[in-house]
């Protein structure tokens, strides 16, 4: 069986770029948004909705009606499809998977888990560089968004997996990408994956 690399990343840390470049350097398959597309087709829900359900927390899971609430059944459908798809990918081996709880869902496959993080200033810079013209946000709005997305990820992991997202003990390697050109990290990361 080949190797499975999972990349968990703070929003704006460049983790997705790092994952893609690492997969290319290793000649591995790369999975990121493909996972959402697959699940979306499978369960017949929009990609945006699936994306939210597959990495976000309580507020999307539980729907409140005044004093009563019920568990959103779409969440379970998405979660089941997510597990199935990730396991089928893992069985093929030699892949890099970004996000979607792959590090936990595929625990039995002994993946190599990498966490990518950066300072808030650096994440803000990366987000500004990537923003489309039509979705220009102020720095304040962007910072709010960065914090919100990571808070949701943390909550999601805590709720569904009883797992502390971002705690270094849950990863083999944690990389700080503040003020770093992602491309420059790839040769050493490739070597790391090959020798760890």
């Amino acid at each position: 069986m080949g190797k499975i690399i999972t990349i968990s990343r703070e929003f704006g840390s460049g983790g997705r770029e790092l994952g893609k470049r690492l997969a290319d350097a290793l000649g591995y398959d790369y999975y990121d948004k493909e996972i959402i597309t697959h699940i979306s087709n499978k369960v017949g829900l929009s990609e945006e909705y699936v994306s939210t359900l597959s990495e976000q927390g309580m507020s999307h899971y539980v729907i409140n009606y005044g004093r009563s609430f019920y568990i959103n059944p779409d969440q379970n459908k998405v979660m089941t499809a997510q597990h199935e798809f990730l396991r089928s990918v893992a069985l093929k081996g030699n892949c890099v998977i970004v996000g979607r709880g792959a590090n936990i869902i595929l625990k039995d496959f002994n993946p190599l888990n990498i966490f990518v993080y950066a300072s808030l200033e650096s994440k803000l810079e990366r987000c500004k560089l990537k923003a489309n013209e039509e979705e220009k946000l102020t720095d304040k709005e962007l910072i709010k968004r960065i914090k919100e997305i990571d808070k949701n990820r943390k909550n999601y992991f805590s709720l569904f997996f009883d797992y502390e997202w971002g705690d270094k003990r849950n990863y083999h390697l944690c990389i700080n990408t503040s003020n770093v050109v992602i491309k420059d990290l790839i040769p050493s990361l490739k070597s790391f994956v090959e020798n760890y």
Copy 2:
């Protein structure tokens, strides 16, 4: 000016071996116990006492007499010598320094800061392999010692530097050495240092 690599490490994580091997691979100077020997000679205190004062917390810093207490003056002597020596080493450049607050004391030199950690089981194994025959401790005693040493390090950094020891944000790279042969990590770490 050359590069400065600092290694912070949990007790039993193999951080010292990693630092030594990395220095050898890079052809850099290596500083670890040499720092203690130098300070010991400089301030005229035993190496063991200097070692305790240079990386441990409150209990050695403040001496209690009933309700009154005073600040241990040796602590300040050691701290001054520690700063002076680390800065002289940094000015020469191209070095790997293990522990002793080098990542913070040399902050202005922009060192590359690496944190080495491992699971408790793995640290216990490493400690058992390294223990001298005459100091054989039970697993329970060893675990207590491992936890105590790291707790002291954490307290020391919090007290003297207002700094959270082990928080990934304070390092460029965090490496989990559980079940890993340290030697195998060196080529990728060397490449990481050269390209970061």
